[in-house]
Subunit: 325 residues, 6 copies
């Protein structure tokens, strides 16, 4: 069973809209080696896992899989922010199409020659479950042979390829919004690569100096270096509310990447930052409420919610979460 908290797993730095960067990031969301794929692959591997003796391995996969759902949320939100307002008239109080005489304007003409036209035509300046050339995500990407060693090797390769592609995306754009998320995911992919490499180490493979694969030297990317200095590549959270995960039996000891750090699985989750709801975009008819519908919605917003009975308690420690809107 899964739970949610209204926090993003990492902060997204503000910058100008950038639809081309948004499109490149789609590979990291809906591409063959993106976050939707890692998430689904690990959830299937955890569900179908065989062999009670292997619980630490199952828990490791389950924990990373749970983190990947938060990565889908993070990179999807980042894409939305890069697209939001990209037709260049940000947040004006009135939409030109609503003014008398404004008829016939083309506020969305940017869509004709920028990256993925579906970002404006099918979605409303928001993320889509597709890759950077517009191919929809496919269930055929998920790999789950059922053989533990093979599945772990595949997962290692998957994280390594995801990191390689994100390093390439880093080299395509210096938009700060894009880079804050890409850099974070580069470091987390390396943490996951370390996790799978360590699991294979417990099964007898000696990586010597082969890791990380690939050797992208991402520490030369300034935004990445900051996160490496914090040691984020050597931490793995459990995201396990019942505190039953045995992943820490694997994720411990020296990092297989030979960077001198110790692997650390002693935290349940990072703090995160509160999520925010995006503004209206009239030219997309999104959410598309006329005054009458708006009044109805506001009436709903004034209703008092019932008190909720908690299974897992209110927030004890962790981030301060502020109400949105």
């Amino acid at each position: 069973m899964f739970f949610h908290v209204q926090n993003l797993i990492n902060d997204i730095v503000a910058d100008e809209p950038d639809p081309a960067a948004a499109n490149a990031l789609q590979e990291g969301l809906g591409g063959q080696f993106g976050e939707m794929r890692t998430m689904m692959q690990y959830l299937f591997q955890a569900m179908n896992f065989r062999g009670p003796d292997g619980k630490p391995y199952r828990d490791l996969i389950q924990g990373i899989g749970t983190e990947e759902i938060s990565h889908v949320e993070l990179i999807g939100t980042t894409i939305s922010r890069l697209l939001d307002g990209s037709p260049q008239y940000q947040g004006k109080p009135t939409d030109p199409l609503d003014k008398p005489g404004s008829g016939g304007a083309t506020p969305l003409n940017i869509a004709l020659d920028h990256s993925n036209i579906h970002h404006y035509l099918v979605g409303a300046q928001g993320a889509l479950p597709v890759d950077a050339v517009g191919n929809p995500w496919s269930g055929s990407y998920v790999y789950n042979s059922g053989n533990l060693v093979l599945d772990l090797i595949y997962n290692l390769m998957l994280e390594s390829t995801g990191r390689l592609q994100k390093c390439r995306i880093y080299e395509m754009t210096d938009n700060k919004t894009a880079r804050s998320t890409i850099s974070y995911l580069i470091v987390r992919d390396q943490a996951h690569e370390n996790a799978y490499a360590k699991a294979l180490e417990t099964l007898g493979i000696n990586w010597k100096s082969a890791l990380p694969i690939p050797k992208t030297n991402a520490e030369k990317f300034p935004e990445v270096k900051k996160l490496l200095d914090l040691g984020l590549q050597s931490k793995q959270y459990t995201f396990d509310l019942g505190n039953q995960s045995q992943a820490g039996k694997i994720f411990q000891g020296l990092s297989p990447s030979n960077d001198g750090t110790e692997l650390d699985a002693s935290e349940q989750a990072p703090a995160g930052v509160p999520s925010v709801i995006a503004p209206e975009r009239f030219e997309e008819f999104s959410p598309g409420l006329d005054p009458e519908l708006l009044a109805l919605i506001q009436a709903t917003a004034e209703i008092e919610s019932a008190e909720v009975t908690l299974s897992f308690g209110p927030l004890e420690k962790g981030p301060a979460i502020k109400p949105v809107g």
Copy 2:
């Protein structure tokens, strides 16, 4: 950000393996109107949501989306149980292929003429991200126009179609394992239909006696009736750890399905039941550990885990979770 607890959202009743039923359930997992689709659609709608005034609507969608991840886990596990051991020699301590002279046996020949051969050939008697005719799940299924009313109508239609298909699956098999999950999902789909119908009611649509759509009279299915009698079709959990969801502002008052119940959003989550790890299947080479690898794994299992620092505390109230394996 998402969390996990090692509980299934609902119990799965034990019965004989049944690969044909497993295949029918694949539609409910990886089909166009299955749980992978509802999950992804709602997560994208929540990420891309526009209009801070609409927070109760966003929270409603986010909460149902979070529940759908647990439904993916539930129906995936159900499919795995229906497949597990279906080649008919369940849990024997030694695999015939491992015995001298056993060479040349065909323990997997059931795969040739039962439903989806990939259940044995690509997966290891486990769930796959495909529908009941083997088509992989596609990102093109996800609908998120950005227009609030349209998205809500689509979601209503989606839950209604999901329920219709599950009622048809109910009529295809009386395997108890299959039915326990199908019946639960029929009732939860109706709860979600009620949620979207109520949201549209707040936006001015009067359903009169049109709901539920379709009128499948599922109360005539005994397993379903038990759950309806518990009122599960009129509850919606928040699954929100920060206790910030405003979904209860919508999900309250009389059910739009006119069954006389009151909608209730006062619980964070159902109790669930502990999940279990599946046994080995030698004929699938899953997990495929020889004695040497097994010894390495057991060595790992004996390592002591580090103590985990908790953000969201250990389990306070809710189900007792027992260790697995």
Copy 3:
């Protein structure tokens, strides 16, 4: 602009339901060489046609394309009839699921091991836009190079392949419902092959004795022979309401198939037979009307329709069309 008349282009002989035959016929509907493909290919070729001098060629393609829409209707309806009632309790006045104590029955269990489970699970015992292994029809099938000679050669090959596949389907089943439509389409495919071959003949290719391709000797199939004796393989209708088609300038003279017949384009359309609406199927919840909804529908049925102003007049000559239902 297109018009419709509530007639099927050919009669469908009654026989027992047969879901396996229905599935084989799906190839003729939604397969790569089926009727949806010919219809779409010719409509695109007609829309995109270049060269006013080539009007007779455009009209030939347009006319065959229009006929193909009626073939989609014919084979789709045939599949529906083969599926209708195939779970074996045809037309009983009351559905077992509606009777007290009938709960828990499995009236759709045939779906688990017969051909395409989607016929019962996604559709309601009706035709689907897929081929005989369940692959959805794809726009990538459509060929329209814009080069006239190439398009004509492709069309010839397409009709020939369609006929080859239908001859193979004929050899798979002797269900009379299936065969009445398959035999009709074998003969019409040959007429279309003759049309494209004749068009290529006007462009200088001499087929000598090469036609028909393939030489399936379908005259040895009794149901086909009857239609050949009527000369249906040498007729092409215009389906053109404005009577502007110049296709007859091509479709005339000796048949290129060397069967001694003369090609004849002097009829606007065949007579056809009235179409019928299928009965309810309770186990599919189709149409799924409860007594209250049924009363509303009947109230609608009693409303008097407005008189329609006609552009193309009421039926002058042609089939007698009787009201349905």
Copy 4:
């Protein structure tokens, strides 16, 4: 059975070629919510319809489905016109590639950086059965659950989404060729939305002020306003040659969109305008006739056509249709 008349259902205004606009319109032709989809969905729903009592509903769906074929023809032809001659040397009597010394020119180099290269490479400056990012149309789009209420709700949502997307396309381009068709389809989509909403109204749903969904205020688009003033959003033609349609029993009374108009189903079809055959494009080798082949084609054009026996008579009233070419 279907018929054709050599008229487009609406006129296409002349303007400059515009390949980017052409590509945007592809979404309206081959996209998930485009005209190929509505056409196929309604034809399948009509073929598979269950319940003779529901004939007015079947006839409504059949009539709209027939209109959609004409919409495919209209938008496909519009795309072809937007592409035709877009490599910028329109209608010159001789092609540079045919002149001595012209060898090595690159008359198609526009294809390298404009929208969909397939418009020049696979097609010959003509429409393709794909969406605006080049994905081929898929049979998996078609929805036909067999449950009447669900199918009607889906159809309502489908028309609404189609209209939403077309309003967005309107905001992308002011090319008059593109806008004349897009505006017409916006209004006709609203008519179809009204039709399905009214059908649901007869089944008990009260839309109050919720319609139209979405509230795009398209009357602020000047080209759209002209058509709304003509009341085209409140008319539904039967396109039924046998004059048997009972759709008028549903499509009558006050419009559910609350614009004060009365729904009107009293016309068989709009007048339309004669279709025209596109000119040659030498650089595409389309139709690609050399002098010898051209002479053969002209010989065919001089043959006298046989007189056609009419089932549905020649054009009685309706548009004057002039010969083409």
Copy 5:
């Protein structure tokens, strides 16, 4: 540049037709981890290879890729043999459909309920480029990141998964035709796994006892054991006519699978066995020659071929190749 010799790379043992086994083998041909995929993946990796220093690695990949084309030929031919004559009337001199009075027979009715109906309907009892559930092979399977270490790890995983799936197919059928090819490919997959493992060993990874992955103990399969005893798992051919391959610099020394053998790259190619042309199948209209066409073909067969100028000489040593037919 590639060359062909009319020899299969390994002999195919004769046995009864078996369409279910044929279908299982389709996974090994057109599945995600089948021979079409390995072939294409390695050809792309060889074409796109970067770094002249890495020539031995490029040559290793090129050599294995070339072998995979022969594996496509081998497994495709095996599938054809398993299908050939499976409708049960093998090689009769005359087809019942050709005899007077035989009309209306259903010689292909086996197609309705056996595995993949396309084997009889789209193909003519021959192999198809699809997997075991009928999904067409996709270019999206090919992995070529350009990073040498990643590509080698992927290739190792790919060979291991291919071998795992073939071991499962072995357990599904004891048809000798199927097993002779499956067993050969199990052993060759292991040779390729050894090759990639050894290449990674030269890059610093120490596999210790982890290989082979998975540990399927395929030596317990009698047909496999015979080939292991011949040491086929430790040989790699160059298939290089110019004798320029440097693959032997990698493929040498002790096998990384720890079976005590030495890797050996000293042979250009195995001997192979002559290929044979399949008989006619009248019921498939394949090749579908009537007496007139047959006479023309025989006239062609009597023409004397021109003498061919040889670049690579006639067969020097190697298998005796006998003429076919």
Copy 6:
């Protein structure tokens, strides 16, 4: 069984990188009518061929199919060369990302707005198995009906369409690298068209002046004219090492294209030119070797290869092949 020689089948002329041209050429590699398709189609037709009497036809198809593998290699390598270094800093000894202070650069930003972003993001400036709009190659393209005449007609149409598309690509770019390969393939496609046309001529079809189809007058393209003057459109190689091909029984006599040449099948293969390994690209991390890995690779390169036992002898006559790197 297949063999390889480290030669390209034709030389590739050097010119500037050009990613847009590279993308257009992808249609010729991975498009529906590209070289991957012809290669696979002919290999399947050869494997599944029926009728020993037809050996000359089988051999013709097999020989052309073998040539197509070399065409895949040629056009893939051409695409790689067009992409290689296209981010504009060609072959600099040090990568800016490796220099202190260079952090944060965007050497791949060209990828954001040029043709297919996957060329930089998924591949490493190399060819991909996709078409010019990014759709992956699909096994559903392969046509193999089993009927000889139909297969030959399809193949003729396929070669003709391939040539038509390549003539259009020629008109899109004058990059010399692109044109050298496109021109060669235009002429070879015509040779293959001649081969299939001649085969159909032996079966009774008289093409008179219809060929070539289409009449693209490619002799007006200077690069093409040079190859036509060499008569390459009228030669067909056997690529058959055993010298058993009977294709020359068909490919002889006057060309069906009526250009006055004689068809000639007397050569085993063209000479070809040595292939070269591409340079490193640091910004793609390809091959991505750090100094430590590089040292290991060089150690491998110094190992002496074993002597290879030859089945088909070393190169006798034919091109001089020089070592690479």
